[in-house]
Structure formats: structure tokens, C-alpha cells
Symmetry: C2
Amino acid sequence: MSSGKVNSDLQNERHKCTFNVTELINWIDGGAKKTEERKKREDMLLKEGIHHEEVPSMYLSHKEKYELAVKKACMLFKMIRRLQEEENAGMENYMAVLGGNLGSAILSDGSPLTLHYVMFIPTLMGQGTVEQQAYWIGRAFNLSIIGTYAQTELGHGTFIRGLETTATYDATTKEFVLHSPTLTSYKWWPGGLAHTANYCIVMAQLYTKGQCHGIHPFIVQLRDEETHMPLPGIKVGEIGAKLGMNGTNNGFLGFDQVRIPRDHMLMKNSKVLEDGTYVNAPSSKLTYGTMMFVRVMIVNDMCNYMAKAVTIATRYSAVRRQSQPKPNEPEPQILDYVTQQHKLFVGIAAVHAFRLTADWLWTMYNNVTAELEAGDLERLPELHALSCCLKAVSTAEAAAGVERCRLACGGHGYMLASNLPTTYGHVTAACTYEGENTVMLLQTARYLVKAWQQAAGGNALTPTVAYLGSVTAGRRSPPWDSTVDGIVAGFRRVAAGKIGLCVAQIEKRQKGGMCYEDAWNMTSVQLTEAAEAHCRAIILSTYHKETEERVKSVSPALKKVLLQLVDLYVVYWALQYVGDLLRFTSISERDIELLQNWYEDLLTKLRPNAVGLVDSFDIKDEILNSALGAYDGRAYERLMEDAMRSPLNAQPVNDSFHKYLKPFMQGKL
Amino acid sequence: MSSGKVNSDLQNERHKCTFNVTELINWIDGGAKKTEERKKREDMLLKEGIHHEEVPSMYLSHKEKYELAVKKACMLFKMIRRLQEEENAGMENYMAVLGGNLGSAILSDGSPLTLHYVMFIPTLMGQGTVEQQAYWIGRAFNLSIIGTYAQTELGHGTFIRGLETTATYDATTKEFVLHSPTLTSYKWWPGGLAHTANYCIVMAQLYTKGQCHGIHPFIVQLRDEETHMPLPGIKVGEIGAKLGMNGTNNGFLGFDQVRIPRDHMLMKNSKVLEDGTYVNAPSSKLTYGTMMFVRVMIVNDMCNYMAKAVTIATRYSAVRRQSQPKPNEPEPQILDYVTQQHKLFVGIAAVHAFRLTADWLWTMYNNVTAELEAGDLERLPELHALSCCLKAVSTAEAAAGVERCRLACGGHGYMLASNLPTTYGHVTAACTYEGENTVMLLQTARYLVKAWQQAAGGNALTPTVAYLGSVTAGRRSPPWDSTVDGIVAGFRRVAAGKIGLCVAQIEKRQKGGMCYEDAWNMTSVQLTEAAEAHCRAIILSTYHKETEERVKSVSPALKKVLLQLVDLYVVYWALQYVGDLLRFTSISERDIELLQNWYEDLLTKLRPNAVGLVDSFDIKDEILNSALGAYDGRAYERLMEDAMRSPLNAQPVNDSFHKYLKPFMQGKL
């Protein structure tokens, strides 16, 4: 493997850094102790060498990729099991390994066992009765069975009510009959479903006594526990190759009248009695919990992926030299080009913005969950609206940001050795899974329109939309204020202005004879934009407020840089939204030119600290997994070393020369 | 394979269409005769079945993908050779097959022989002397040798002067000595270089009599013609797996003092005499030709890829149903959602906009080339500036557009069976190859700044920048005009306004003590935006003018739709640029709201013709290669059929169960 001294350009960058990198690492981790714990966990996992690949998986066939993923996943969880026994740790360890950067470093193509831990076991815990939990969770924990969670179908995704799979209760035998009435009702996508899991939680339309009661969860055995052969009536397989995550073993599943015992319906909430009587859940809103939890987690994932991408692109930009703007001077580091800084530095800021917003959302999630358990549902819609738009905006921004980083590395970013394409594969998947982004934005928009109408009716609003009150009250736009607070206030006016316009549009269209649904649809492009502007206001203000709060205890040198990043992020987004600011605030052309100069000035100020800032994300080389981004900056050496690992390079002459090329050249093919 | 009747939703769409699809197909091809020729060519190539894959290449290992690509490429060119002999056709046939959609349908991962035809032979023709052409071109045409073209190096891309490979003339032996002095000087990226080509044109720094004369082309033999073994002093291999195009066999190449005869330098332009005397080229600008040609071709490629992507996403959106906005009504086709129309229809318009702009640029290229050969270099800089920004803007818009189409298909767009990820792989590669996009925009910006200064000095300007004259002359912004012409004029004011601001910024920074280069760099983010705005004005006006000209002969029904598409595209971009229009024109808030309504109205008007419009791109299923986008709309059936072709589905139980999973579950791993 690579060894040797650090690239001298990177060394210079590290000398230039004006703050203490360790201080920032600790600040990000939440204290020196947490940094130590994280490092210990990383070292422990990495020293096992599970991430090491004899032949890099990028060179394997689809089938071999799956087989390698199964092997690695088994070894990983075996190790976690051992660690848990040794340390007597709880579920948290799973999360630390599966979430964050560590899991994706070891299983860069995704894991066929993830859903067992992330969906199968949690759903058993959340939706099973005490008896069901007692029976199933033990078996799942000690891996007597491996499960997954099957909800989406070939023809049905985000709209859950449209699912077609049926579970019909037969009171004579006290069984449910699971059935796939159509091709489009086949379960499609669940990870681990294809060839890995032998049990599955299946979401199906519950029918009893001739009536449909909507979607409920059922445990179904898919494969024989000994032979792993699919059971009668079960049609199961994999859905085929994808843009990324080809180790996750995404599967399809169809039922031909498959019978399961009555107690295989998870009955913590709703029940079917022996005679077929349906007993309703106390509150159906409780099931929103898992979905929101996952969306909160996604914002955090986006932070991790962005951190990887900007670390790679920033270090490479310090090493790469190009062009000769001044005669007789050497080619500059491409990091010195302001266009390059423009592509990278906002990404560095975004990592902090996402992390602090995710933390804030996580706190709110816990508060609302506690309130829920005490029977108070008041803040649930607000949390739902927030988790929807933050999921959409953070995944879209991260996808664009990772691609910008990849393109900022020029052609070399296109190589898998950069790890940027694989990172993009993970991030862009999040734009469509767990709620497609446009649908998410429209859910938030629906909440905003309601809030707007409440405010117009003089009612008080929940905190995150309280600002709508002042705009509906008709207050005039205050003079433009080019501070961070002023810009955040500007974004609130933009969001409020856009929501107001949407409401007016919908009403106008209704007066023109359209029904509400059609008027909503006609206005929906503007509605998504309103939700985005609202979400931007939330992210900018949260990032600003949380940073101001948390920098109180840090050194002046670090504080300065962290606040510069906030400024950069806020000004960057102000410049992106210049049209809306012109429409809905009193910003002037002169203000815009000053913002632009402020932005350029911030890029110059952050330039000397760029490498220090990405070093502070403290991503180990094994986790970063990038020839372009390694800590030592030996980008070219590593590219060549990685190339030499290609099986094609094992032979000087490929067999195809004799088989095709030579006969072709000789006209004999 | 799939067969059976057409999906009824798609059938309904085709009934609704208000224009004659065949008329539009012919209009796009340039006449019914051209359509017929194209179809004949397609049928001829496809009936050979070379595109057919026993195991789809997406399931193969990296090495197998290459071997399949070699096999297919040999069969493809063997067939072309045969067809040429039969029909006595010229080079044009190569272009028809390699460019356009046909080549990428047969070799979806790229071809290891492309550079032989697209770069090796043309460079021999363009840069070889008559004697050299006589010797080499024959051998290359009859495939006695297979060549490629090596310019970029591991450490050097867009900045050609920075290349490090040296070719030092040794007058005593009358040879050039090729050498790679550093790791960064290794050639890196050329297609076919790794294991396919046995000859190569190498761009190297020419040294003779102790002096460097810059980059020149040399023919170097890489491998033994019989055994294909690399020759002594040649280090050659492949660079490793990439985001896409893994059949292209991109390679690296290093020289350890490799000697070649003097007449292996291509000497049509510059020469080295036997005694080592260097004789300069008559005009170094002539070598710009190839680069510009390739950039013109790229705009056309982008049109083809966009056409594929919108065809897939639009047909799938007609088939896919989701959600239930109105109670008791069936789930609507997702094509009925205005947010979906917003994602797709602008892409349909972009196909036409790109095609007409590429045609226009092609005509200009031919005119300028003819002028060049007559010794007139006057319009060369203008063409260069245009080809740079059009390359950058079209590739960036196509990349964003293809991804938007992919995401518009939800999770299923993530499957390789959709063919959208592979299409993205091709398109996004074009953002960094043949001149990185930011560098391209800055080249155009440099031309615009010069033009601005000429105009300010009262000089006349070349046609595509003539509009700068009226703005520098200080004419006030005319009243806003919400017609297509008015919007195009608005874009020109935006471009001019931005260039003017940039010039002012640079001057101000120089007065503040910066040198010109630093002032330019500090202003470069704004400069790229100015170049983009200029390019938008060009595309919008060209699309509009060319359409108006060419619809004169079409039926009223078709004319109406084609003009609606122009309107849509222009209004879409006006709404994207609202901030700039507010800054640099007299557009008002009221005008913006009207534009927004106009846009929404256009979406509604185009909705019934959406499927007809993509049908008119007339992309055969074999070329589209998409389960989601096939003509019959049997998206779900095809997804399942494609899944069943995965080798993982050939066995009910994968070996990894016995090897890893079962021992793991039993705690025996």
C-alpha cells in the first residue's frame, strides 16, 4: 500500500492553517472524550481488516459483488456481536457502525443485512405485541432468522395506500392468506430480500369479514430455515443491477395464496380477533414515528457524505496544479482559482449546516416523541412538515454538492478510485427513497398553506412558521439589512411571500371554476418553491443560531473561522436567491454587488484554512477510500497503484487479442 | 423478449396527440428521404444482432466487460467494412454509426476502437505530410494497425502547454527519443490505449538542438504486431474502473527512452530537418480546428442523450399511476402532475433547442473553416468563443436534464434497466472531457471582455456579440416586453450587464493594487456567469429563429406545437433567470407573475402531446434500451423480465448461503 511522506503542497497548507485542527475535531464530535471513543471504535473495526478487498469490488461481477457483500456483512456483524458480548453494549453500537461513515467504508456497495437490523428488528419492537416480541426478537437478535421489511411494490412507492398485496383472514383455519393479485403488486426493492433473508415483514391490505382495513404488517417466512429454498407459493429473487449499492441484494417478492397463522400479524396497534373481528389502533398517527426517524437520520447521512466529498476534492485541489495565468510562474494549485473555491467552500460549510440542523431536528424529534407518548399530538404536524422538507432539501443539496466536488476534480473524479461516483450513488438514492423529494416538498407546502390560513385568521402559529404571522398581518418590508440575521429575515419574507402568492393563485383558480385539487396541482411548481424557501430559512437560521451558541466556548481563532463559514453559507444562498430577494424584500442592486464582494472576500479569507477545515472532519483514509483525497496527498501515486490492482493489468496481453482483435485485423473474423 | 399489446394509457396518449407524428419525425430528420435512410441504416445494423447480449453486460466483471466490448467493436467494424465495400460509401458512414444513437446502442459501455476512427485516422489526415498519409492511412484503414491518440497526462489535462512527455531529437541517429520524466507525465485516459491499440499518436514537448518547441504529434508503436506484447521501454496498461464507459479501455502509457525514426513525427505543419533544425508551422491556429470540431459534435451528442432520457421518462410517466388527490377517483398518471410536467417538458424542448443550435454552429464551423483555408482568420476567435460556451452550457444542461428525468422516474430510475444511469454516465463525462466546463466558460468570458472593450472604444463587433455595442453605448433599458423576442433581448441585456459589471470590477481591483491576473481571478465566478448568460441568449435566439424559419413549410397543427415548445423553453429560462432580469431589465413583479402563469399554461397545452412529442424522436426500442421507456409501455413486465436475466436469479439459493450465511446464523463462522 501507499506509504511515504506527505505531499509538500499539503504540508504547506497545514502549516498555513490559522486554527487548531484538534480543537475543531473535538468540537464537531462533541468533546475530546467523544473523539476518543469514535477513534477507538474506528480502530477496533478497521484493524479486523474486513474492509480489505483482495480484488477491489469494482472489478467483480454483479454476482461476485453480492457474495463478497454477504461475506463482509457476516464478518462485520459477527464482530459486533463479539464486541457487544465483551462490552455488554446495547443497540447504540449498531447505530454507530451502521450509520455514519464506518459502515459504508466496510460495505461500500451497501449491505444485505442492514434491513435486518434497521427495519426488521425495530418494526418487531414497535409493532409487535409483548408475546410477539418475546418470540421473534430473540430469534432475530441471535440470528436464528434473518429478516427484511417489504413495503414498496413494483407499481407503488411513496403512496402507501395504493399498495395491492392482500392479507385476507380466513376464520375457519385462523390464518391469513397473503396474495399478489397483479404483477404490479409484487414487492420490489427491499434490501436483503432477494437471496439473503428467510423471513420478512410484509405490509399488506388487511381484509377480514369482507372488508378492507388498510395496510398492516405481517411476518412471513420466505425460505426454509435449513435449505434456504423458497417456500411453496413464494416467488422471490433480485431486481437487477442498479446505479449503486449493488451489495444490498434488493429483491422482489410475490405470493400465490400463502397461508400464515393469525398471530403472524403484528398486533401491538390494530388486531384481528380469532373470529375475524377487526379492532382498531388507538392512534394511527403513532406509525408516523419510524418514517420521521428515518428522515431525521437521512439529514445526518447527507452531512457524512458531503464531508467525504469535500475532503477528497479539497485535498486534491491543493495537490493538483494547472495552467499558467502569470507568465514565468509555476502552474498554481487549482485551489487558488476562485471558481474552484466557489465549488468547494460552500460544501465545507454545508457539512456544518447539515450536522447542526440534524442535531436540532433530532432534539425536536425526541421532544415531540416524548409529548406523543404523553398523548400530546400538537407538534406532530410541524415535525412532520419539517422532516419532509429537510429530507428533500438536504438530499438534493448533497447530491448537487457531491457532483460538484466530483466535477471539480476534472476527469479523475470520474474514476471509481476517487470514490466520488460511489458516494454520489449513495446520496442520489436518498433523493427518491423514503419519500420522493417533490412529494416531500408538497407535504410541507400543504402544512405551510394551512399555517398561512390560520395566521390570516388571526391564530397563533407553531414556532417554525411563526414568521408567517407578521407577513400576513401586512407589515411592509423593512429596509434591507445585509447581516446574517438580516438575510435570514429576508429568506423568511421570501418564503412568506411565495406562500402568499400560492394561496392567492389557488383561490383565483378556484374562482375561475377549478376544483381545489386541480388549482393546487396547477400551482404545485410554485408550492414546491415556497416549501424550499421555507426550508432554506430554517437551515440558515438554525446553522447560524446553533453555531453562535456553540462557539462561545472555543478559542478566538477557531470561532472566527466557524463564523466565516456561516457567513459564507448564508451569503452564498442569498446570491442564489437574488431573484426572490428582489421580489419580496427591499434589497437593491447596490446591496447585491456588496453581497457578491462579501462572498468573494470570504472565499479569500477561508482559502488558507481550506485543508485544515476538511482535515477537521477527521475521516480516516480507510473510510475515505479515495486515491485523490488521502491524507498524504499522494494522489498520482495512489491512482497508479489503484490502476495496477485492476485484473485487466495482470496480463500484458488480454485473451481477446487472440480471440477477436487479431483475426479482425487480419480480415479473418 | 417482451411482446404483446401496447399499454392502454400509452394508446390513449397517442390518440390524443394533435399533430402528425410522422410529419415531425421527417421534420427532425430533415425530410422523409432522410428518415428512410436512417431507418434503413438502423435496421441493417440491428438485424445483425451485435447489440444482443447473452448475459447483459451490467452483470459482467470489469474484465469481461472489456472482452465483450472488443468482440462487439470488432463485429461492428467488420460489418461496416462489409457495408462500405458493398455500397462504396465513404467516411460518412462511420460518423453515422459512431455518432448519434446507434453506436451507443450497440456498445453502451463505449468502444475500445472509437479513437482509432475518431482521432487516430483524422489526426494522420490532418497533421501528416502527403508521404506520411500514404504510408499510414492505408494501414490504419485496412486495420493492419490499430491506433489511438494520447494527449492528456496523469498530472495534466485541459492546459496543454503543461504536458511533460518529451520527444528529444538525436541528430546522430536521426531519431526522436520519447521519455516520461515523471509519474505525472504518464499519458492517462486515452481510449483503447490500455490493451487494444498497437500504435499511438503521442503529443509531446519537442526538443531539438537544446531548445523546446512545444507540443507536437509523434507516431509510436506500442506493441508487437504479431504477439501484441508491449515493446521495450513502453509501460502500458489500463487506468481502472470508472463511473461509466467501462468498455472504452482507457489506458496509461509511460516511455523509458523509446526511440522512433525522425519521420514518425507528423510534419504537415511544423518540421524537424535531418540536422535537427526546427521549421515552424505557417499558422498554429489551424490546429484549433479539430478541437472545435469535437466541441460542435458534443452539442449534437447532448441532443441525442437528452432525447433518450425524456423519451424514457415521459412514456413511463404516462404508464405510472400514483396517489389519489381526489377521493374515489383512480390514481392519476403521474404525467398529470404539473410538477412532473415541469421536470419533463423543458427537456423535450431542449432536444430541439440543442439540435437546432448544433446545426447552426455546424454551418458556422464550415463557413469559418472555408474562410480559414482561404487565409481569413477573422471569425476564428468568435467561433472559438462560441464553441467553448456552447460545449459547457449544453453538457451541463444535459447532465442536469438527464438526472432530472432519472429522478422523475422515482426509485425505478435508479435501476440500470431504465438505461438512465448509463445515459448519465455518458453525458456527465462530457462536462470534463474536451475542455473542462469552467475553463471553457472563462475562455468565452475572455472573448466577451475583449469585445466589450472594443465596443467601448467605438469599434464594430462580430455578429454574435454585436448586442454589446448598444449597451456600452449607454442606451437605457427599454420597457419590458413579454414576447419571445423581448425575453431574448432581456437575456442580451443581462449578458451585457454582467460583462459590464465584471469589467468594472476588474478595473476597480486593479486600481486597488491587484495585477490584472489576480483581479481576473477574483472576478472569475461572475465572469463564468456572464459567459453563461451570453450563451443562453445565443441558444434562445437561435432556437427561436431557426424554428420560425423551418416551420414555414409544416402543417398548422405541428407548427403550433413546435412554437409552444419554443415559448416553453424561453419562458422556463426567463423564470430561472428572474434575478438577473430584475437586475438588468425593467421587468416588474407583475410581469414575473404573468410569465409564471404563461409557463403553467404552456405545460397544460403541451400535456396532451407529450407522448407524441417523444415518439417523434423515433428512437427504436433496441437503441433506447430501457425497460421503462419502451414503445409499448409494458414497463413493469419488462422490469421483471430484465430482473430475471440477472445471473443471481439463475439459482434459487446462492452459494454464499452455505459458505457464509448459514455458518454465521449458527454462530459457527
